[in-house]
Symmetry: none
Subunit: 254 residues, 2 copies
Amino acid sequence: MLQIERYHHIVSELEKHGSISIKNLMNVVSPSRSTIRRDLLELEKMHKLVRTRGGAVAVGNNTDFMREFEYRKNQQHEEKLRIAHAALQFVNEQEAILIDEGSTSFELAKLLGRFRSLTVATCSLNIAWELRCAENIELLVIGGMMKRKSLSMSGSIAEQTVRGISSNRFFMTADGVNAEQGCMCYGAEEATVKRSMIKSVKETILLVDHTKFNKNALINICELKDLNTIVTGKEADRKIVSRIQSLGINIVLA
Amino acid sequence: MLQIERYHHIVSELEKHGSISIKNLMNVVSPSRSTIRRDLLELEKMHKLVRTRGGAVAVGNNTDFMREFEYRKNQQHEEKLRIAHAALQFVNEQEAILIDEGSTSFELAKLLGRFRSLTVATCSLNIAWELRCAENIELLVIGGMMKRKSLSMSGSIAEQTVRGISSNRFFMTADGVNAEQGCMCYGAEEATVKRSMIKSVKETILLVDHTKFNKNALINICELKDLNTIVTGKEADRKIVSRIQSLGINIVLA
DNA sequence: GCATCGCTTTGAAACATTTTGAACATATTA
DNA sequence: TAATATGTTCAAAATGTTTCAAAGCGATGC
């Protein structure tokens, strides 16, 4: 394995797991302890990792974030993947779509490579980064003050930008949904941006895993009737589903 | 195997795997190390790949790591680091600064961890990603249509955002600088954003390595008198330096 | 057609440099 | 204290660079 390939392998393992051991790297990237040790030494100089006894961990700031993101991603990850796949039916070639921040919509973004040509607008830094090299996608990054927790842009600048655009579909996420209060999330500014987005599109499609139903989150985003479709996992409670359907909202169980 | 066939084979392998080793190419494209080495040398000149010890990696590779590797192999990398360090003297605690896209300003961004509290606005997706976890930094991402080549946002949305902000200092980059035409860059939309940025700050500081002097790039950004300071490498030609100083521009040789 | 010339490409060898794997003494952990 | 990991040093291996002669190839003239 080439040196650069080893470096790359180590860094990407680190991004995935947050830490690695020399033992696990042996026979994968190199047969010799010394070489691995030297690689870690080099990567530490580049501030790509911090060495520990027996291995290394991802660098300071990134670790917390990675852990949190990985954690959120892994919760209901399999369900989120199903939801993302099901959401694809609402994406059409040559269209412009809006994608919200959040792990489910991140999964959707990762599936957009299959289209020939799309325009995607997003306030998620994660999604922007994921799509930055996708040649089939015209990417509109919605700027604003970045929220470190969600890695998304919000605030008055984001709102102003959203008001100036219009598109067919908005794939929204939420932290809580119920028939009475509608969609909710924890951040007030995020909620404002979401509301603007809803206004600037023809159709809003909510992507939520089943655990979000009947859960309350601080800030109200919109009522259920503002949505056109909800895509969720087949684990969703039947009563809730039929309750929502009775309000005239289309539900897709993935 | 014909030369052109070898080139083709190497490039397509590179597209498939992201990296190749000379060993693997031996006996496939040519029996001789020398020939392969020469091929890689040629392809590197054509910017089809970047050579590494023992092989080569694809250019414009998606991963952070490869991109950084490409940067590091760049001739002026060491100079750019010096320039970034020197530029730090113009950054003050608690201030708001604007940072342009480009590899030199990216180096500057990486040094901002040493401040206790800063507000940073940038149109560079690279820089935004780099600073996403920095708890000492309030990050304003300037949104807009993303240019894949520079990983930066521009266009009318970016301009509009820039018009709405004001800050103390703008750290600008350029592809060409000379006393007559001033600062230039290759992208027309990028130039427009840069001009807006210059207008919205008190002081503009240009960060350029010495190779940018007396080089022409397509689009004019501004005249030299619009700048307050130029930070460049000590390799810069003395004549050019004194010529610019005579125009009343402060020059820092890093 | 074929020999010759000039140019480019190729393969190999010599030498410089970097990387690697192993050995051993030292430090750290349980 | 035993076990494990680390740092250091060194020779061997691998890779890069430079140089050069041989081979390949097109153009030209006979």
